[in-house]
């Protein structure tokens, strides 16, 4: 016996040896040249390319494979990714990418894999691949990520110079560079500076008349309602605030204005920054003491929904993940000064963020419903969530009912249209047909099935049957794709007849396992005479949703018409619709409405609700949960599931405990504002500093990562952050501290030892000039002519229709610029020209451009000329109109040369004195002296 075994083994071995030799010969003659010709360009060490992480110039390369796993399974061509991609059957994965291999070349590869993929190229992958791992422990010690320190005040020589602690830090650096600070600015310059910096408006003439106490003046400005309008605007830049979607459909965000006003009010109330952040991330999930607070908290979460979205994206899972991506990108940059969005497809190239970190965060946002329904009735054009704002009963219940009804209209409309589109020869026109239906044409068929349309009782134009032949060989595979995870009833449609089989084997591959069912097709389908339930199963979006109808062991006809997946939550609605169809029951007439009527209903409901008390607030998704990592960021390339968690570099601990069915945003919000996350403080403190001093201590205010700049004054940054934390996150406290510092109150300079030694003013030894912002220019033009209306505005985008694509005129709008509708892709020209923030992205540091269009505007804008004319009319009545115009527009009387120039100009203007004054006013308003602050 033993002998025999040995002998057999030997025989096998030598045979194997021969095969191996043949295999290698086959590889060398056929396969290697093919790989060299078609694959090495992108997948070999020689070319230095390893696209998709795959090398095909060595055996270990395809064994380990690329991002999507092993490239082939020896002996199993049908299950090998390589064959899958060269066959071009998947439009997402086609190799070689430019041209398909010839059928002959494909056969060579298939044969090679069938042979067991013999490959003598045994160079190891390790020789060429160095997997980079992120050292989080080390990264946590980096200046941006480590805990806040309490740096001591540095020693300085000129001890009497500092007024505030921050001055000491600034002075120490100046002294270390052998520089002294510039002189202090004069009172009028300071008042103008303070007024613009704190309210965005020029100082009132009455204030300028009494320049006695700057501290009192600063306090007055800090407490004026205009403070929130100035600083709120900065936050809106970060929040990519807009009143329309942009993206592909520029639909009006009718309810966004509530968020704008919430932000303004938060700054005016000096709300704690931490609470402000928590409310924007998870206000809907926070406890509230009263109705007012609850409303505020819901409105705050509009922040999450404001981004531009590609509403017509047909792949809804991609739309959801793109929406989550936009949120992560915004939160990453606005709150944390980090480009976390970069880690969607691979580990961050420069910063300590893994792809794992990204999907750990994405889980929170994919569990949050922002996009849903349909805006115009087309399944491909999504809408977004709007919820009733808390208010006293019975108004609350009435409004909630209207919102729920709108959402129902959206669903019904999509379902109805779908029914029309799949052809319409069903015997039952009134089937609700909710959920997802796959017709037999969508199935992958194995074997020869016969098409038929003899029975009128069918879904779509045809059904198929096995003709009672080749039993066991034939099967029909339905691969569904479900919009959300949950429990579904799976149903089969088939025209039941006596000659159908009573024991049809059906396999359902669901998330909760593989289920084998035996199904009787002689039984008349119970649902509308068309569908019969197979059972209820749990499915996951993106996970497998397969229903396989087999013929093995059957004798009679196996018939396949369609498969339906209906969420168990829709069953009640379906039952009501059935009852109505049969003349019983009295449900909502919507359930029976035809597609055209539903369209009208949809438009009517949207129009009716556009000025209702709603918030554009997202909510936790019904199928909240962790999500899968996506290989190379491809929506359909699932990697492992990643538990929701905070970024590893900022948090060293176990993942949060999140209740089932909850997004976990509340935990995220709490962690975000916890003392563990010192980055939040560093980033916001630096932002405030940059707004007041013209440049951040970290000059790249939106990027604290490796690609950003290092802080010029790291100790000062931590000092301010610690103080901010100690103040409970009070903006006003920090801003007061800064504007009352001596550093803030320095004079600007043209030329000095400081400008030579430190041209960029990194050491802050002097004041930096700054141009007025777009809003400051427009608001000042209104203010100076006495036209500005200081009332807070409400829904200013309401009257422009369902999208904001048409040109908008604001010549009758006299309120502050922050209240003008912000139409994405269609910004008010007066603001856009002077670098208003692009509302499609986080904009913590508006670019400053100097372009001819600005000059054309200053020369030719009718608005500017109108304001100039108004000022001229007022000047005309004054004893010294030229002086008055200078005083009013520039904040000071003209010097001798300027006065002479103006006088000459007026005299040479001919007879029309009022026109000459209007021209002078125009010139003053267009002058750089007006546009730039000292």
């Amino acid at each position: 016996m033993r002998h025999a075994v040995t002998f057999t083994l030997l025989a096998v071995c030598s045979a194997a040896h021969a095969v191996a030799a043949d295999g290698v010969a086959f590889f060398e003659n056929k396969v290697r040249p093919l790989l060299v010709k078609h694959c090495y360009e992108c997948h070999s060490q020689e070319t230095g390319k390893r696209k998709g992480g795959l090398l095909l110039d060595r055996k270990e390369g395809w064994q380990i494979g690329g991002d999507a796993g092993p490239a082939l399974i020896p002996g199993e061509p049908a299950n090998s990714l390589l064959m899958h991609s060269v066959s071009y059957e998947d439009d997402k994965l086609q190799m070689p990418p430019k041209s398909k291999l010839t059928p002959e070349d494909q056969r060579i590869l298939e044969q090679w894999i069938s042979m067991g993929a013999p490959d003598p190229r045994d160079a190891a992958l390790a020789d060429v691949v160095k997997k980079k791992t992120i050292d989080f422990a080390a990264a946590r010690q980096d200046w941006a990520f480590r805990p806040l320190s309490a740096p001591p005040l540095p020693a300085v020589k000129h001890k009497d110079w500092p007024r505030k602690e921050l001055d000491t830090f600034i002075l120490a650096e100046l002294e270390a560079n052998n520089l002294t600070p510039a002189a202090d600015a004069d009172a009028h310059t300071l008042m103008r500076r303070l007024s613009y910096d704190l309210t965005g408006l020029p100082p009132a003439a009455s204030d300028l008349a009494d320049a006695s106490d700057l501290t009192v003046y600063a306090e007055k400005l800090l407490n004026s309602p205009q403070f929130g309008e100035k600083w709120g605007r900065y936050w809106l830049d970060l929040a990519r605030y807009a009143d329309s979607n942009g993206g592909d459909r520029n639909y009006t965000f009718y309810q966004a204005w509530r968020y704008r006003n919430y932000v303004i009010d938060s700054f005016n109330r000096d709300q704690s920054y931490y609470e402000f952040i928590r409310e924007q991330l998870a206000g809907d999930l926070m406890p509230a003491g009263n109705l007012e607070q609850r409303r505020r908290q819901m409105i705050a979460t509009t922040f999450l929904a404001l981004g531009p979205k590609m509403l017509t994206e047909r792949d809804k899972e991609k739309l959801h993940l793109d929406t989550a991506d936009e949120q992560i990108d915004t939160i990453g940059r606005a709150f944390l000064g980090l480009t976390i969005g970069c880690a969607r497809c691979h580990d961050h190239k420069f910063d300590p963020f893994s792809q794992q970190d990204y999907y750990a965060l994405a889980g929170f946002f994919r569990s949050t419903e922002v996009v849903m329904g349909t805006r115009n009735g087309c399944v491909n054009v999504a809408s977004w969530v709007e919820q009733a704002l808390p208010q006293p009963e019975p108004a609350m219940s009435e409004l909630t009912a209207k919102v729920n009804r709108l959402e129902l209209v959206m669903r019904l409309k999509v379902e109805r249209d779908f029914m029309q589109k799949v052809g319409g020869k069903m015997s039952l026109k009134n089937l609700p047909l909710a959920g997802v239906i796959c017709d037999e044409a969508d199935a992958e068929l194995v074997g020869d099935w016969k098409q038929s349309s003899i029975s009128a009782n069918r879904f779509g134009d045809f059904y198929i049957h096995d003709d009672r032949k080749n039993k066991g060989e034939k099967q029909a595979v339905f691969r569904g794709s479900l919009p959300e995870s949950g429990e579904y009833e799976v149903r089969l449609a088939y025209p039941a007849k006596g000659n159908c089989d009573q024991h049809v084997p059906i396999t359902v591959e669901a998330f909760d396992g593989v289920h084998e069912i035996v199904f009787d097709q002689t039984k008349k389908p119970s649902i509308g005479g068309l569908f019969e339930p197979i059972g209820r199963f749990r499915f996951e979006k993106g996970g497998r949703v397969n229903v396989i109808i087999r013929t093995a062991g059957t004798k009679d006809y196996v018939v396949v018409d369609a498969v339906q997946f209906i969420s168990v939550q829709d069953l009640e609605r379906e039952a009501a619709a059935f009852a109505m169809a049969e003349g019983k029951g009295s449900g909502d007439p919507l359930l029976m409405m035809k597609s055209g009527d539903l369209s009208k209903e949809l438009n009517k409901s949207i129009a009716e609700l556009k000025d209702a008390e709603l918030a554009m607030a997202p909510r936790d998704a019904r199928d909240a949960g962790d999500i899968h990592l996506r290989i190379r960021g491809e929506v359909n390339q699932l990697g492992p599931k990643v538990p929701r968690h905070f970024p590893s570099v900022l948090h060293d601990g176990p993942p949060p405990k999140i209740a089932a069915g909850s997004s976990g945003r509340l935990q995220l919000a709490q962690w975000m504002t916890s003392t563990e996350n010192a980055l939040l403080d560093r980033v916001i403190v630096n932002r405030l500093w940059a707004q007041l001093f013209g440049r951040g201590l970290v000059s790249t205010v939106d990027n604290f990562g490796a690609q950003g700049e290092k802080p010029t004054h790291p100790a000062l940054l931590d000092h301010l952050a610690a103080k901010f934390r100690a103040s409970g996150g009070s903006f006003k406290t920090l801003i007061r501290e800064m504007v009352l510092s001596r550093t803030y109150q320095l004079a600007a300079e043209a030329k000095s030892p400081r400008t030579l030694a430190d041209p960029e003013n990194r050491l802050l030894g002097r004041r930096s000039y700054r141009r007025l912002t777009a809003e400051e220019i427009r608001d000042s033009l209104l203010f100076l002519a006495g036209d500005l209306n200081l009332d807070q505005a409400g829904a200013t985008a309401l009257t422009y229709g369902e999208d904001l694509d048409r040109p908008m005129k604001f010549d009758k709008e006299f309120r502050r610029s922050i209240y003008l509708p912000v139409a994405r892709n269609n910004l008010a020209p007066d603001l856009e020209i002077f670098d208003a923030a692009n509302p499609e992205m986080v904009s913590g540091d508006r670019p400053l451009t100097t372009v001819p269009t600005q000059a054309l505007y200053l020369l030719n804008s009718p608005f500017l000329q109108k304001q100039a004319a108004t000022l001229a009319q007022q000047a005309y009545a004054k004893p010294e109109p030229v002086v008055w115009l200078h005083q009013t527009i520039l904040g000071h009387a003209p010097g001798a040369r300027a006065a002479q120039r103006a006088k000459d100009f007026i005299e040479q203007s001919g007879g029309d004195r009022e026109q000459a004054l209007a021209d002078l006013a125009h010139v003053l308003l267009a002058s750089t002296e007006f546009l730039f602050l000292d």
Binding site: E89, M310, D315, D439, A750, K751, T849, T853, L924
Partner: protein
């Protein structure tokens, strides 16, 4: 062959003679005449992009498929693309082209009688029949063709070109978009996103219409030139004094741009005035004919901008090519409106010797399915479609790449939209891998992490 900078220089001298700030002008002119981004010798100096918004059908225009005609009404023998209207994909019935095809010119390229005039010029064209793009819906695909991204906000191709090459004529913008669509991303498609705002497209006209007096924003001067010049003189004196007091660079920038604006005001209306073109030129473009007048004016304006040194000019149709139904009626009308103007533009560029260094690009955001939608329509098809190029360093009389035998999927020598972008930049002398902009900690490119130059079409 570089006639344009001279125009502006001559003009500049004239303006400088008016008296203010010749110093400032010189610094701008120098910067403008040195293209900063050239990586290699360019084959084209400028691009005219004729955008067919909505997506014209490849199988009814330049991609002749006899098998599709033969199998009209039969079922497609392979799976149709995903995410389309189930009414077309579940049946997947093929729809033969209602138009006749014939071969044209020496090269014998196929063209249908939808485009009789352009077909006569097929020997000048390089027809890419294997285009592929991203986005089954207009919103994504329109952004994709213009910005190289289907889902995120990115600078448009014209903005990248402006950023890479600067302007050839300092009196005009480097990037002009004629009558762009406000929808499907609208200004994003000529926007600069995170690039400096100076690179965004300047528009004239809107939504496919030029309008009689279309002009750049705020170009129209209030009051006569003398009046304005007096104001400008006072203003520049004030600004100059302010600059001397502050030495703040942006103040100086403003002084310069005031002069530039003033010159633009003088120059641009002349460039945009097509009324003084000779009659035979106007009729070459179909101007005066009701059907072709609108697009003809836009094409002629494009030529004038090209002549004046604008780098990147886009001429868009309105969103009219989207024939989900009424294919015959819709495509017939759309083609009739643009056929003669486009052929006229090609002829005019050629007779002026400008086609050598002007790259003309024609196409929509995607093509259309060879299978029928509804009774007589075609759905979107980014899987395989046709665009053509002409002039500026590409082979003429070439058909490059192939779709399958029914014209559905690109199968041979596929050219992805990223590849086309890389190729257009290449022809302009720019390496798409090296034209980058650092934003939010990352170096961005028009082609993201994709794109390969299509060497097979280089002349």
């Amino acid at each position: 062959m570089n006639a344009f900078p001279q125009i502006s220089r001559r003009h500049a001298l004239k303006t400088a003679a008016c008296g203010f700030g010749s110093l400032a002008f010189n610094s701008i002119a120098t910067a403008a005449s040195l293209p900063r981004g050239l990586h290699h010798t360019p084959r084209a100096k400028r691009v005219i992009f004729l955008f067919m918004h909505g997506g014209p059908s490849q199988v009814d225009t330049f991609d002749y498929k006899p098998m599709l005609q033969q199998m009209d009404g039969k079922k497609l023998p392979f799976a149709p693309a995903k995410n389309l209207d189930p009414s077309s994909t579940s049946q997947a019935k093929m729809l033969g082209s209602p138009w006749k095809f014939q071969q044209h010119g020496e090269a014998g390229l196929w063209g249908s009688d939808l485009f009789p005039e352009v077909s006569k010029r097929l020997d000048d064209l390089c027809v890419i029949r294997s285009m592929q793009s991203k986005g089954q819906s207009h919103g994504q695909a329109v952004c994709m063709i213009h910005t190289g991204a289907d889902n995120f906000v990115r600078p448009s191709m014209g903005a990248w070109v402006s950023y890479g090459l600067g302007t050839e004529n300092s009196d005009l913008p480097a990037f002009v978009s004629i009558s762009p669509s406000p929808t499907h991303g609208g200004p994003r498609n000529y926007g600069s996103a995170f690039l400096p705002a100076a690179h965004q497209g300047t528009t004239v006209g809107r939504a496919g219409k030029l309008g009689k007096d279309a002009t750049f924003r705020f170009l129209e001067a209030g009051g006569d030139s003398d009046h304005q010049q007096r104001k400008l003189k006072l203003l520049q004196a004030m600004n100059q004094e302010h600059f001397e007091r502050t030495r703040h660079a942006p103040v100086e920038g403003m002084i310069q741009s005031m002069e530039l604006a003033f010159r633009m005001q003088q120059e641009a209306p002349g460039t945009m005035d097509i009324e003084h073109e000779p009659e035979h030129i106007k009729s070459l473009y179909g101007i005066g004919n009701e059907v072709t007048d609108n697009y003809g004016r836009q094409c002629l304006l494009a030529r004038r901008f090209a002549e004046a040194g604008v780098r990147y000019i886009q001429v868009s149709t309105p969103n009219v090519w989207d024939q989900h139904s009424n294919l015959i009626k819709g495509h017939t009308a759309n083609a009739a409106a643009v056929d003669r103007p486009i052929a006229g533009l090609l002829a005019d560029l050629k007779q002026r010797g400008m086609l050598e260094d002007t790259l003309v690009v024609w196409g929509g955001e995607f093509g259309r399915t060879p299978i029928v939608q509804g009774a007589n329509g075609r759905d979107h098809n980014p899987q395989g479609f046709t665009m053509w190029l002409a002039g500026g360093g590409v082979k003429s009389g070439l058909a490059y790449g192939e779709t399958d035998e029914f014209g559905y999927y690109a199968v041979k020598d596929k050219v992805h939209m990223h590849d086309l972008h890389a190729t257009i930049l290449h022809l302009l002398g720019i390496d798409h891998l090296r034209l980058t902009y650092r934003y939010a900690g990352r170096d961005f490119r028009l082609t993201d992490v994709y794109g390969e130059v299509v060497n097979g079409i280089m002349a």
